[in-house]
Symmetry: C2
Subunit: 416 residues, 2 copies
Amino acid sequence: MLRWLLICGLISALAGTASAGFLLSLDWVTRTREAHPWLILLLPLGGLLVGLLYHYFGQSVARGNNQLIEEIHRPRDVIPLRMVPLVLLGTLLTHLVGGSAGREGTAVQMGGALADQLTRWLPGPLRLRRRERPLLLIAGISAGFASVFGTPLAGAVFGLEVFLIGRLRYHALLPSLLAAYGADWVTRLWGVGHTHYYVPAVPTLSVAGVAVALLLGLLSGLTARGFVAAVHGWQGWFGRLMRWAPLRPVAGGALLLLLTWLLGLGPVPDVTRYLGLGVPTIVAAFEAPLPWYAFGLKLLLTSLTLGAGFKGGEVTPLFFIGAALGSALAVVLPLPVALLAGMGFVAVFSGAANTPLACTLMGLELFGLPAAPYLALACVVAYLSSGHGGIYGAQVVGEAKHPARRRDTGRRLGEL
Amino acid sequence: MLRWLLICGLISALAGTASAGFLLSLDWVTRTREAHPWLILLLPLGGLLVGLLYHYFGQSVARGNNQLIEEIHRPRDVIPLRMVPLVLLGTLLTHLVGGSAGREGTAVQMGGALADQLTRWLPGPLRLRRRERPLLLIAGISAGFASVFGTPLAGAVFGLEVFLIGRLRYHALLPSLLAAYGADWVTRLWGVGHTHYYVPAVPTLSVAGVAVALLLGLLSGLTARGFVAAVHGWQGWFGRLMRWAPLRPVAGGALLLLLTWLLGLGPVPDVTRYLGLGVPTIVAAFEAPLPWYAFGLKLLLTSLTLGAGFKGGEVTPLFFIGAALGSALAVVLPLPVALLAGMGFVAVFSGAANTPLACTLMGLELFGLPAAPYLALACVVAYLSSGHGGIYGAQVVGEAKHPARRRDTGRRLGEL
């Protein structure tokens, strides 16, 4: 017990500090790109750098989040420490030139890889037994997720939920919880804050409200499915087209640039709002309905960015896609726009990551308790309707979502 | 999907209405007893009635909550409908004469048994397949729990969490959630409200705060262990002493009466506050520190009441015991009394029922989001420190709490 307190303290300090530094530098990078819009002309060059970086130094850590999940299931080798600088640099480069990517992949990989180093470093009495390594990785993932989004409860459950579909194992309950709250606390100690999303009015639950939550959940699940298919589609296409991996993000960057330029010419004059993290646009989604095409456009740009090999993660773009979907539907659905945006925000992510409980908790932490029934219903339905697919191919089906797909049990999503 | 919406609608209406009726009549019964204190002289007579009721009519439903859990694990026979009137009548009799018992057992058994009747009643296209019956039972349990406490999110997770230790299965996620919110909504539609517990100030998390949460969690887990041992102790003692079951609550009632009289003479003049549900005393625990002996006294009276065969359930007394424990510790621990009472309230229950997530969510729903880190830590530590025991003997160890007890996996708590 005392041993784990100390270990979780160390994980908190490492992951929380890493997240704080990452968030500050990401913020600087994003402001730099916004101040110098010509930087997006460097998309192909940025792609080349990211590609070369991972080709020459990052082969052993290129599988990113999936690598962490695989090690939880079958612990073999300690995650190389180089995962930390590589994913950090790759993500900052991606965002500097305007790639449409996220940040949770970076935080989770930094947290997981840093936590895993303790396997080697800890002296005698603290030394970890072999079977405890998965707990360390789970705690590291929780710490990274919690501190990058400022949602510790969701972070704790995310670490427990992400490696297995349809089951939650409690073996790492206390380490995750301690590491998540600890890392979040450390990040705030460094003076780093998080975006506030404001859901001012939540109507009491009614039959119509339940129906809307179920419908938005279903649409979110299908959107998540579409996102996963699009990323895989781009990945496969670039893979077939270019055998030398570093060329893929170059071509992807060029295509992204071309697309941005064409769209900016006419149909979407403010297309640059869809690049990078897009946090201001997410905030706007809570205030007034976004155009109907916003979620699809972000889906296209993000799947292209990530499918080509840029770095950063999927989650913030998924928040964008979901919030834009919910926000656009406020024109036809009888719930306030902020609530719909909030429901989409967590539900699309829930469907894509197969983590309905973490997403519901995240919704509570970001949007407040009164929204709970809407958030929970949307997240659960999105999870059920996104199928046996997702953004993490190393996830294992612990229990099929539908009895008809029982034979998938025990297999990795990537094999299905 | 539509089929399950309809089924959950039916469960909501049945369980929500049953809970509303139960809460109203329980309220009437409690007020009657408070207005006529001589009613506690009838404790032995009330015990005889409860005993005879279950001996002659209730053999098939006497295992109560455990029977529901067993049917989830190994579906055999539909729960007899008579479970509903018997547990209702048994609970009202228990509370009328001042037995120290709860109410969640009643609500959960009514919800589960009513839901299970749908196995028989549903016409052709809605008819349930054999493997769907556990989902129905889980949804019924969630509906009962959610509506009796007014905490739907906790109710939904409680149904999923209660039958298996150390694992959460997602197969009934949507039915539980729908039934929990639906039943809570129906209960409120009937105009039935719930007690408000007020936690006004929550300090931001600090190292001292974490230490207090861990310590209170540990004490709560040990208290839960003591409670379970005490109930089993009384059960064994009455069982050995009296072979004819209906005599046991008579003797138990007489003993309870004697104890109340002796305590009331000198050491605890306000001993009647410890009888029945004790909600006013729970509320008082949030306002000022209770005496140090309060939690132990309630533990003694409740374990005696339930061990002798009275009905109602363990949860509200566990809330009392936990809130009293936390409240009393406010004299020495550096956190506000309301927060400590709230932490104990959910943590002792978490340790005794082995449901840390449901208890954390319940804490959020009752005491608000800012208390989340304290509640989560206390609930998780109480769960980890209560051992492989608990108030529901039919719970199966899905995953051992500690690697050292791995050989318990797959066995029922009652067998260990």
